[in-house]
């Protein structure tokens, strides 16, 4: 279980005005600005959960993850993961966790991937049998057999990311932190990564903390979402609830031939192209079936699709609502 209670963390950043004069001045005296990265952040995550941790750039996501990994020491507050305080018992704590920082690499650049994996085996003091079993399993699930003998520098980003995700799972961590694991990946690789993460969670019961800007990741993997902005937890809840909280409107996209249908009360035009329009409908004013009937009575409908507002839009609306 992860327990995070009243954690605060501030950074000090040197500041100066532009220009030569100020550059010289700053050699002698510097002005610092204190940035509140985390302000009284509290949450709990139960074993076996997958949670999505979202927020705009600079909101404090990575700081939170780094505190949980024992890399950063917070200014105040309590954090316990599996009963341990990460920054105090770092070496014993990190044995039970796995981390992927999507923007960095943990593979040794110039040597074949398998050499990096064997180094991890020794670092985590795994016995050969357990290592073999996990390696074989990961190789099968992530289709790594061809990649293991290749130096990391010769892999494509998608191939490398598959190896990067396999690396922290070799030692079967209880908690896995994924910090933007799908950044820069193509659609196929993204789907593969998501499917794999889901499988690991279901089969091994690994607790997963996922930070991402890709709302499809969130949609595919998590039910519970934590929203952070300006260092504060703003929302903690179910994705569906978040959607309802934001808007209950339905999005209707129609393709038609013939004349342009007129809109009834409760419909709002979002986007119009030739023979195609997207309408936002308030189902409290006009039910969905009535809206479709009204449109169909005016023109020849070729295609209709009805969806909820997208997660992407929910998050954008939330960021706007909280001014973050």
């Amino acid at each position: 279980m992860i327990e995070f209670k009243n954690i605060c963390k501030t950074y000090r950043v040197a500041k100066r005005q532009a220009g030569f004069k100020n550059a010289v001045k700053s050699l002698f005296s510097r002005e610092y600005e204190t940035i509140q990265a985390l302000v009284d952040v509290s949450f709990r995550i139960n074993d076996g959960d997958i949670i999505g941790y979202i927020g705009p750039n600079g909101a404090g996501k990575s700081t939170t993850v780094k505190v949980m990994c024992g890399i950063l020491t917070p200014d105040s507050g309590i954090c316990r993961i599996n009963g341990k305080v990460p920054w105090k018992e770092r070496t014993s704590h990190v044995k039970d966790i796995g981390v992927v920082f999507g923007q960095r690499s943990q593979l040794w650049w110039d040597v074949p991937v398998i050499d990096s994996f064997e180094l991890l085996r020794d670092m985590y003091k795994m016995d050969e049998k357990r290592y073999r079993r996990n390696l074989d399993e990961l190789t099968r699930l992530l289709d790594l057999s061809e990649l293991l003998k290749t130096p990391a520098r010769n892999l494509s980003l998608g191939q490398r990311m598959r190896c990067e995700i396999a690396a922290p799972l070799l030692h079967e961590p209880k908690v896995l932190f994924l910090d933007e694991p799908t950044i820069g990946l193509d659609a196929v690789s993204k789907i593969a990564v998501r499917r794999f993460v889901k499988k690991i969670n279901e089969e091994k019961g690994t607790t997963i903390v996922l930070t991402t800007h890709d709302m499809m990741d969130i949609e595919a993997l998590t039910e519970r979402v934590l929203l952070i902005g300006h260092g504060k937890i703003l929302l903690d809840g179910n994705l569906e609830e978040l959607k309802k909280h934001t808007s209950t409107d339905k999005k209707i996209t129609v393709k038609y031939t013939g004349r342009i249908p007129a809109l009834s009360e409760g419909m709002k035009l979002k986007e119009a192209r030739e023979n195609q329009m997207t309408i936002s409908l308030d189902p409290h004013i006009m039910p969905v079936f009535a809206a479709i009937a009204a449109l169909a009575s005016q023109t020849d409908l070729l295609d209709v699709s009805v969806t909820d507002i997208s997660t992407e839009e929910v998050v954008a609306a939330l960021y706007k609502e909280y001014h973050i």
């Binding site: 890399i71 960095r104 040794w108």
Partner: protein, 265 residues
Amino acid sequence: MKSYFSLFRIRMINGLQYRAVALGSVLTRFCWGIMEILAFFAIHQSGGDFSMTFSQTVSYIWMQQAFILMYNVIDGDQEIEASIQDGSVAYELTRPMNLYGNWFTRCLANRLSPTALNCLPVLALALLMPVPYGLKFPKAMTVVLFLASTVLALGVVGAIAMLMHITMFYTTSQRGTKIIGRAVTGFFAGGVIPLPYFPETFQKVVNLLPFAATQSTPLLIYSGALTGIDAVWAMGLQIFWLIALTALGYYATKRTLKRVVVQGG
């Protein structure tokens, strides 16, 4: 312990695969050695009383060229520097290993692996050189002392390098520290001119500094300029500096990590 060995191994593998670099470096070392020897030949020709004979100086220079990458304090740990600069140190910290031990091991491997590629060809060329410009083989006992002293020197080099790396946690750019570091560690270690060529009073002070415990001691032992009780005393100093600097680095790392800031991403 096994994890340190593996780390050492992977760094060695990593360093052993650059053939072009090795070839280039052998040629550079060889040419540089000849140039230095000619300079010292001219100095000795012009007369004067030196505390090192020409033949000792020749051996000193060849051994220095053969092992130069091992005695190098500043350059060679690019990947450690990069990890501090770009924040990959975050990954290091998620490993169940002490960071000092982790990096110290890599510092040693980073110096041993290029040396393993370099030293034999340079030594072979040096042995083939005509008298009096060639490398001489000393007595077996001297070679044993030299090897022991080289191991100690490598440890001291690693410990000083670690202190340099730790300062990089506090500075945004490493350029300044490296320029100063390169000058100081090279000059006071007899990297430019062997220490016996310096005035006596200067030598008395410099010999006590940790820099003399790097390349100067083993090279002087090999060349025969440092013998008997003096050699034992110098190696004692090497052991002292190795312990003192490692302890200091270990403590400094621990303190630094409490306030480390990993930005972005």
